[in-house]
Structure formats: C-alpha cells, structure tokens
C-alpha cells in the first residue's frame, strides 16, 4: 500500500506537472566510514550457507572492499565453534546440519575486531505453493503463492533469472585467427545463441499476517515488459523463499525504502538501519546487516516463447544493427576480421556457387557472448 502511494505521488510529481528528475551530485563531506557489512543466511539442512563480509565505502568511490581473512563461525549452545571457509574474497561458506529447535550465534573476527550476533533461531520456510505467471496487456507477470504459519509469517524472496537470447545478426561462422580463415562455429562456442541472466534483482518482501490463514496469493515478483528479449526463446527463473523474523523483515524494509522509495514528494524520511550483529571490541562501532538462520526453499519454472506467443522483441542495444553492405573478399579477411570489431556474417557466392567473400557485421550485433554466455547453465532444461 505504501509503495503504491509513493509510486503514485512520485508519478504525479514527475509527469503531470512538468516535474523532472535530473542527475545531481551534491557536495558531500568526505568521510571514511568503513563499517562492517554482513550479509548471509545460514542453512540448517545441509545446503550451502554463505556469509559475505565487506566494508562500506564513500559514495564517490566505485570500489568494493571485501573483508578477507576473517574468521566466521557458528557457535552452538554448548559453545562450540563451527567455522566457515573463505571460498572467494569476502565470501565465506559452510555446509552443515543444525538443530532446528536450538539457538545459535554467529561470531566474526575481522581485521582484529570481534563481533557477535544476537541469538539466531532457525525458521523452517514453508514450501512455495505456486510459482507461475500471467500474461496481460503490459507483459508477463511472475508471481508466487505460499502459505505461512505462526512461525513463518514474514517472507523474503530472491530470484535468479536466466534466458536464451539471440543477437540481431545471426552467424554460424567465425574468423579463426590462427588458421586465417572463416570456420563454422563449434557447437560449444556459438555466437548466435546465449544465456543471459539478471544481475540486479529487487528485494521482495511480504508479511503474510495481513491475509487470512497467513496465505500469500499471487505476490508479484517479476514483471517482464512487452518486447523484452527475456521471452525471445525460453526463460527460466528460480525463486528462493526464506521465512525471516520480524526484525529482519523490518531491516530489509528500511533498506528497500531508503534506496527505492526515497526522494519522492511524499517519500518517508530516511531511517537508520540496524544490525543483529554487535561489535565486541569497540561497542560504539556500528555494523550493517541482518543474518538469519533456517531452511530456505526454492522453485524453478520455465516459460517458452511459444507459451506467450505472439511476442515481439526489441532490444535497445541492437539498435541500427544489420549486415554491412561491403563484401569482404577472401584476401581481405585477415585485415577486416582479425580486429574483432567486425565479424563475418553472410557468405557471398558467385552464381556458380563459388565463395567471393563475406559481408560483415558489427560484433556487438552478432556476437551474443558480449552480453551473456554461450555455455548452457547446469540446471537448464530444454
């Protein structure tokens, strides 16, 4: 409801009355507030748990600062430490089973300072009831339905989208620099069909207590607008559902409001964000992040183009793409194609069927690998 309000009012301000939004960089006082940021979820059922540690940075920098070499552990009620291992820089993982009825703490030692979490009580997430989509005049909406219970009323969803897409110019050949000639693309390295994935998902939250029997029906997760290339061939999304406690829910809600709901005419004022992790060494040090524990559930669906057909696709990145007019004779292949900006796209033959040369295309238009990967994801089902 609140988000509707803000959307509405922002739109009113923005559109109706000649309002506008301009990029603006205010002068900010530089400070080196380098707070520990903890993000993660501890799985209790033998799934991989991930805790990521980083530092907050100044608004002007583009660096991310992972916290490396930290000691991350879960402490059980008898005081035992179960340690995570650093898998990548700043990413700590653990695969373990925990008692769903016990209470644990997360301990972190980073850069010489110790931190400890509030007691964490695992919450078993109910299964996703329904993950489906509906098509309407504005596109496709993917929604989730689930049923909470008295222990699991607050839900957080994250998702990973993948889809097959094709570039504007399809070519089945490539210029092999070593051989100096044009060869058919090998099946495992095609440039005319790739998988794309979302990088910037939104946080989706819902409180089930608002509804009868803690039921959440058709909560919108993702909206695929008309003409999106996500549905050009086949699309898949895996939704991970986690039940969290109220404090964690509030944390995510503040996070969302502070970044997505801000600046409008009737937007709420920014709120301070809290953490369930406290510094032990320096009590005044603030930590960012809420770590929760429990068992998450996930579900995946596929949508093929045929199910939503007709579905036309417009990709802004492929604007003004096409096969170039000039035919590049065989002798000029190396000169033209070895740079990589132009790729061979269309063979030109004489009437007798002898190859004259290739017409080229810009790599950005013909090589899907520039915007995705041509390696089929492990989970992908055709």
């Amino acid at each position: 409801m609140t988000s509707y309000k803000n959307r509405l009012l922002l739109i009113l301000g923005l559109l109706l009355f000649a309002g506008c939004r301009d990029p603006f960089e205010p002068d900010l006082i530089e400070n080196n507030l380098s707070l520990l940021v903890v993000e993660g979820y501890i799985e209790i059922d033998g799934e991989e748990s991930r805790i990521s540690l980083s530092r907050s940075t100044s608004l002007k920098t583009n660096d991310t600062i992972p916290v490396v070499g930290a000691k991350v552990s879960v402490i059980n009620s008898s005081g035992e430490n179960i340690f995570f291992t650093e898998k990548e820089k700043g990413i700590y993982t653990l695969t373990e089973f925990f008692n769903a009825n016990a209470s644990y703490k997360l301990a972190i030692v980073a850069d010489g300072n110790s931190y400890i979490s509030d007691p964490l009580t695992p919450i078993i997430t109910p299964e996703i009831g329904e993950l489906d989509y509906i098509q309407d005049e504005a596109g496709v909406e993917i929604f989730v339905s689930t049923k909470g219970n008295n222990q699991a009323q607050y839900f957080l969803w994250s998702y990973e989208e993948s889809w097959i897409f094709q570039p504007a110019v399809l070519t089945g050949v490539y210029f092999d620099r070593e051989e100096g000639q044009i060869l058919p693309s090998p099946p495992n390295n095609r440039t005319d069909m790739c998988w794309g994935e979302n990088i910037f998902p939104q946080i989706i939250l819902q409180n089930a207590a608002r509804f009868a029997d803690n039921q959440i029906l058709q909560r919108e997760l993702i909206r695929i607008p008309l003409q999106s290339e996500k549905l050009q061939r086949r699309y898949s999304v895996e939704v991970k559902q986690r039940a969290i406690n109220q404090e964690t829910f509030d944390f995510w809600e503040i996070l969302r409001k502070n970044s997505d709901d801000i600046g409008g005419i009737f937007s709420p004022l920014p709120s301070l964000i809290r953490s369930n992790i406290q510094a032990v060494t320096n009590l005044d040090e603030n930590v960012i992040g809420y770590v929760s524990m429990g068992k998450s559930t996930s579900k995946r669906i596929y949508i093929s183009n045929i199910e939503v057909s007709p579905w036309s696709v417009t990709v802004p990145e492929y604007k003004s793409c096409g096969v170039l007019r000039d035919t590049i004779p065989i002798s000029q292949f190396a000169n033209n194609f070895s740079g990589g900006n132009i790729v061979p796209a269309l063979a030109v033959y004489t009437l007798r069927g002898e190859l004259i040369g290739y017409r080229g295309a810009e790599a950005r238009c013909a090589d899907c690998r520039l915007r995705g990967t041509n390696q089929k994801p492990e989970f992908w089902e055709d």
């Binding site: 940075t57 608004l59 944390f251 502070n258």
Partner: protein, 913 residues
Amino acid sequence: MIRVSLAFLCLFLSFSQALWAQESEEKITGLYPGLSFDRFARQIESSTSYTLFYDKAAMDTVQVNLSAKDNTLAQLLETILEGSKWKYTIDSKKRVFITYGKILNIELSKNFFEANAAVQSKDSIIRLSDLERAFSRNKLYVIGNPTNKKTATLSGKITGLDTGAPVFGAVIFERVDYTRGVANEDGLYSITLPVGRHTLFIQNLGGFVEQRQISLQGDGILDIAIEENIISLSEITVSSERMTNIARPEMGVQKLNIKTMRKLPAVLGEVDVIRSLLTLPGVQTVGEASVGFNVRGGAADQNLILYNHSTIYNPSHLFGLFSAFNPDMIESVELYKAGIPVQYGGRLSSVLDVKAKYGNPDKVNVTGGIGLLTGRLTVEGPIGENTTFILGGRSTYSDWLLDILEENTDFENARAAFYDLSFNLEHRINPKNKIRINSYTSNDNFRFDRDTTFRYENRNLNVGWTHYFNERMEAELVLGRDHYRFGIEGRDNEANAYDFGFQVEQDFAKVNFRYEMDPQHTLTFGASTLRYALQPGSIQPSGPLSIVNPDQVNPEQALETAFFLGDEFEVSDRFTINVGGRYVLYNFLGPNTSRRYEPGAPLLPLTLTEERSHESGEIINTYHGPELRLSARYILNNISSIKAGYNTNRQFIHLVTNNAAIAPTDVWKLSDPNIKPQWGDQVSLGYYRNLQVDKYEFSIEAYHRNMRNLIDFRSGATLILNNEVEQSILRTDGRAYGAEVLFRKNVGKLNGWVSYTYSRSLLRTAEDELAEKINDGNWYPSNFDQPHNLGLIGNYEWSKRFSTSVNANYSTGRPITYPVAKFNYGGSERVYFSDRNMYRIPDYFRIDASINIEGNHKVRKLAHSSWSVGVYNLLGRRNPYSVYFTPVNGTLQGFQLSIFAQPIPFITYNFKI
C-alpha cells in the same frame, strides 16, 4: 473641449497658486459684428493666447457686437457680459472662465490649509483620494463662533464615502468622557461637548474607525464622510486595514483579501488561498506540491484551518496541488501567527481563519470562471428581505491533462476528479437575532491505474446564532460537525483486493460572548466543547475472493472542552493590553484499550506491563491546563507603535507522518495515556510604522517559541494500522525563533510588498526519551528549517482595466539527510544514513508573472468579464524538491527532483453576471 468640469476646476485649484496677474496683458484689435459668443471665443483663441472655458449651450443667447482697438480681453468681456448674469474670471495662465451668477473664486481661501473659522465645514468634497482622507483625519476643523457657553453642540450628517448615502447607526464619540452620538436614519447626528479641542472618532457598526480633530468654539455643523462597510471586503481595497496595523492590539496577524489574492500569479491559474499565504513573512512550505504550510517554524499539522467555523483537515485538491477553497466564495483570509484570539485553540502554531461570504443582499449575482483545470460557478443573492445566500461549486471538467500524458507513458486508465461545494445562508430574524448556516464539502478521487483508487473527502456543516442583547453585548452560538476521511481501494488482484479507510469526525458547540463593559474594557468570554471520533485506520477485504485479513485500529474518542475569558483593556488612548486565558480539559474516552509500560523504560513490547479495556464513555485519562493569551500595544505616535505578546497553546490531535510534506494519506492520532498533548509557547515583540500618511507600512516582529511533546518517529516505524503507535514514536522538543520584516506599499499604481523572514526551527529528542536519540540527542534542524526567505509582490496598474503582477520568492534550501556511506546488499548498492538533516538542498528561487485584464464596463453587456494570463516559474528554474540517491542497475546515482521544472503558463477567464 470647452466645458468647465468640476474635475478640471479642482486641478486648477490645486496647481495654480499664482493669481490674476496683470503684467503681460495682451491687447486685442478687431471687428466682431453680431457673432455668437462661441465664434467670438474661437476668434479670440486663435488670435491670442487666451483659452476660454464656458458652457456653449448656455451661452447661446449671448450676442457679441463690438469693435475693439487695443482693448484688453477684460474690457471686451466686461462689455459683452454687461447686463447679463454671466461673470468672467481670468487666471495667470490666461485661462478665462465664464460662470453664471457669481465670479469663480480661483483663489484658495486663506484658511484652506489651516484652521477654518467658518460655521460649516464640509470635508466630503475635498476627500478625493485616500491621501486627502488621511489629511482630513489630521486636519483641525475649527467649528462655531466663540461664545461664553461652556459646552457646544456639534451636529451634522454622516455619509458614506463612496455612495454618499447616509450611514445609519454610525457612532460618533470622543475618548475623554466617552460622550457619544449615533447617526439616525438620515445620517444626522448631534453631540454636545465642552468647548475646546477634541478628537472625534466615528465608527460604523463593525467598521473602520475614522477620526477628526476639532476645535469646538460654539455650536456648529460638521459633515463627515466615512468608509461604510468593512464586511464587503472583496470590494474594498487594502487601505481599510491601514492604521489597523498600528492600532490593533494583537500582533502577528496577517490578512489577505481576495482581491489581492486574485492578482497573484498562481499555478494553473487557480486562485489559491494557501499558496497566497506563502507570500507573507513567516509562512513557509517544504515543497511546491504540498498544501501543508509551516508557520514560524511549526509543523504543518499545527495549523488550525477554519472555514466559517468549520475545521478543514485537508484543504487541498489533487494531492496538494492547490487549495480546496473556491475563491469566489471567499471574503477574506486571516492568519494568526502569534496573537491567537482567546476563543481559538487546539493547535500550536497558527489559526488560519478563512471567511466565506453570505451573499449579496441587493440582487442575484452569478460569478464564475474557467481555468485550465477547473470550472467554477457561484450564485448569490437575497431570498426575501431578511435572507441572503451564496452557493458555489468548483470541479474538474476533464481528464485532458492525463489523456495527453497517456500517449507518452504507460499509465493508461489514470483518472483524476475533484470538486468542492459550499453553501452559506444568513437570515435576520429581527434586528437582534441572526442565523447563519455554513456548509462545505470537497471531494477528491484519483486513480493512477485500474488497480488503486484514492479518495478523500471533507464534509462540514454548522449553524450559528448571533444575538445582540444590547448595544454593548452580543453572543454567538455555533453548533456543527466536521468530517474528514480518506480511503484507498486496492484492486490489484481479486485475492488481494482491499479497502483501506481513515476518518475523523468532530462535533462541536461553542458559545462566544462579547461585552463592552465600559469604554475601557471589552470582554470576550465563552466556552467550547469538541467531541472527536476517530477511526485511525481499517482495512477490509473487498469481494468474495479476497483473502486480506480485516484489521482495524481501535477507534478513538475524546472530548476537548475549553473555557475562555479575554479582556481588551484600554489603559489609555495609547496603551492597550489584551489579557486572556483559556482553560482546556481533555478527556480520552473509551471504549478502548490502554497500555501501561514500565516507568522510566522506553515504550517497547518488552516493557509493556498492563493492558486494560475500557467501557464505552469511560474516561481513560485526562489532561488539562491553562493557556495564556497576553498582548500589549503602545502607540508611540500617530504613525508608529510597539507591541509585545506571550501565548501558550496545547494540541491534542497529531498527524502521524514521517514524510517531509503532509501526504493526503497521513492519519491523525489523538492524545492518549502514552502520547501526551503537544505544548508550545511564544514570546513576540514588534514595531510598526506607517510612512507618508499610511502610504507605506513597515513592520518588524521577532519571536521565540518553545515546544514540547512533539512527535517524531523511530527508525522503520510502522505508522498505519498500528494499534501501538506509541511504540513507534519519539518524544521531541522543539525550538523556533526568528524575525519578520514587512514593507508594504498599499496605494498607488505600483503597490505590493517586500518581506524578509529569518527563521530557525530546531528539534531535539526529549531528554527522557530512551528508545532512540536522533543525532545523539543534540539539536538538529527540522525538515522545514529554512533560515532566509525573501519575497516580493508587485502589482502595477497600467489602467483600471489592465494590471500586471510579479511574485518573486527566494528561500534557503530545506534540510536533508544525505547518506554518509554506501555498501552492497541484496545484489545492489545501498546507502547508509547517519545524522539527520545535516545538509541542505540547493536554494529555492522562483518568479511568477501575470497580467489581469478586466473587460469593459459597458452597462448593457451581458457579463462583466476578466482574464488572467500568466506564467508560473517564469525563469523555468529547476528548483529541487529533494535530492537523493537511488540505485540504477545496481549502482547508486544522485538525483534531484523538481516539481515545477518548467515555466507553466496559464489562462483563466472569469465572469460576473
């Protein structure tokens, strides 16, 4: 050309100081046989430098038959006019006036500028302009011939300045012994006074006080012209408020009449009461698209907005784009920033008293207008002899603006509609009793897609009975009901369909006496009671398939009762004090559940110790206390005065919002055992001076305010559908101080004002608030702390029909909280906020201009019309409303949002039948 008109004469009177001079007499030679006087005159004019003024038709009978040789014109005229009653006069500028009967006296009487010993002294003729009116106020009239009697009787006629009609009931009095006389139906009065000097005051009922200086020597006559009526404010000019600035005992009062407001350039051409207020010193706003306004560093919910006794909770249309008062209905608007009259209370910062009309008593009038967004129509007039009415409405007539936008956006099905209606009636039962009915409703409806509809609505009705006990005492009893509600209909999908609703209803009764106890004391006293019934929020499933859990915050009831007494005490001619007080009693009533928390602990679910249910009508808890209203005025001299004031206020109903601007979907909350009433006081001091006989008005006021038990919110507070709101609030202290300077030119072709306001508004989490300390418990600027504000309003009247107005406004940018750091979370860059309101958005500057064109004044025309054309934000400056950071594709970017980022032209057509 050759006609003597009175106006001409007056011009000569004032400009030709030098008189009949003989030095350069022209000699005339010529033959004038049997000519008409007209032809003769033309011949003289062509051959000499004389100009003749005469009545051609009247002089038709005069024949000229003479021959001249080196004669003077005087000699010729002497001959021509001999034997007739025509007389001639020649002045120094060689102008010749032919008059009938007596010689035109072109010489000012010797005493014209000083004491006049004539028995009769008419001041109505010379009172041609306001300037001269002020002059006659200070001029000494010498009346009568000295005799040996000790007293003398002054008599005369009191007439209206504009109409010349006798003013029945005008009171004439002096202030030493308070001798008084009253004008009868023919405007005739008589008053017996001791001989000597007096200052006479002439007052029409409820009108403006005129004064005359007299030196009474013997019986005599003084005719006086006065401004008849202050009630028809829309018709008269601002001048009626001049002097009052100096003389009125209250301070911090600002008045705008509808005529001034009409001239101000407005957004989309809608004459806007509340936006007009923003041009006055001490009134500020956090943003352009919000109707909420901040008075002297107070929050927007601390303003009591009254529309003919009705409390208007949401005075805005289109989510705050413009105010919901139909300009054709409005008489005047008064804003009390400091000297809040004793009969008003319940809000901390100000009282905005919007006075609507009761209709024209003479004939039925229809007025209306068509703007870009709305059309309005008002009918007013008499019903029978003793009743007048006014009915006005305003509405949007199309969604064309939205339709245009639809083409460029994906917001199809957006619809906006609103209207407001107002009906007032006044009935005079007899000269001593009067009944007034006031009603008002406004309704807004907005849908931005098919899924969600927002509505809000004000409905107000009250009946007032005014009774005049005698000349010195009157009373008014008002009974009424105010109602405000809003709702959101969510129709996202059938399973989630809901209706959200909020409403506040208040029934009130107030009785107000005014008693002129003796010439020195005027008492105001009475009582008021107000019963609140609040539905602070409810959500209901809509449709059979909806699984939304119905939920409702407990309805709240309370009774606010006040007794008040005020005395306007004229200690002397110069010194007046207003002493007043209110005693306010507030009962929070059942049915409800009250909660108790551990003493000395923050209000949290953990510290909750007791929950108790209360029966219907049971008093759950009571707050009571006095409120002071003190002010004093000392007139330094005829043109300047100083004033000082102190007042305190309590507020029992609070807007629950954590937005910078008031949103139309914010709910109100009553004080309960855990949420104490807001309390505030204000000390103010002012100096007022009028320059050049009231042509310019200057004032400076300084103030300091303290506020307690203000409401702020904890981080991440849930404000809607929260039964335990006290667990989300932070008790906060406030402090505001500043100074306001106003320089105003009231008369002349160029008029307007310049105002400068310095104002600070600071907040601090209360020391005993343990839940959270904003900015470590230090003072921090409130959201509307804008220290410097400069405003200019200029009108230039090119002619009676054509005028231009300019409005310029500068203010310091409002405080804002910027993030201090960023971090990655949930797949995106996020911001980390720390100290609140430590930065400011860029300064605000805007210029608007408008042209007002009146139609011609031909009597036969069907309708009298006028046009208003203008541009809002002429410079197109992109004044930021807010500056913020939001992730775009996972990376933070800074933005500024401007509401009216381009020049917005407007045109409005108004008519009157």
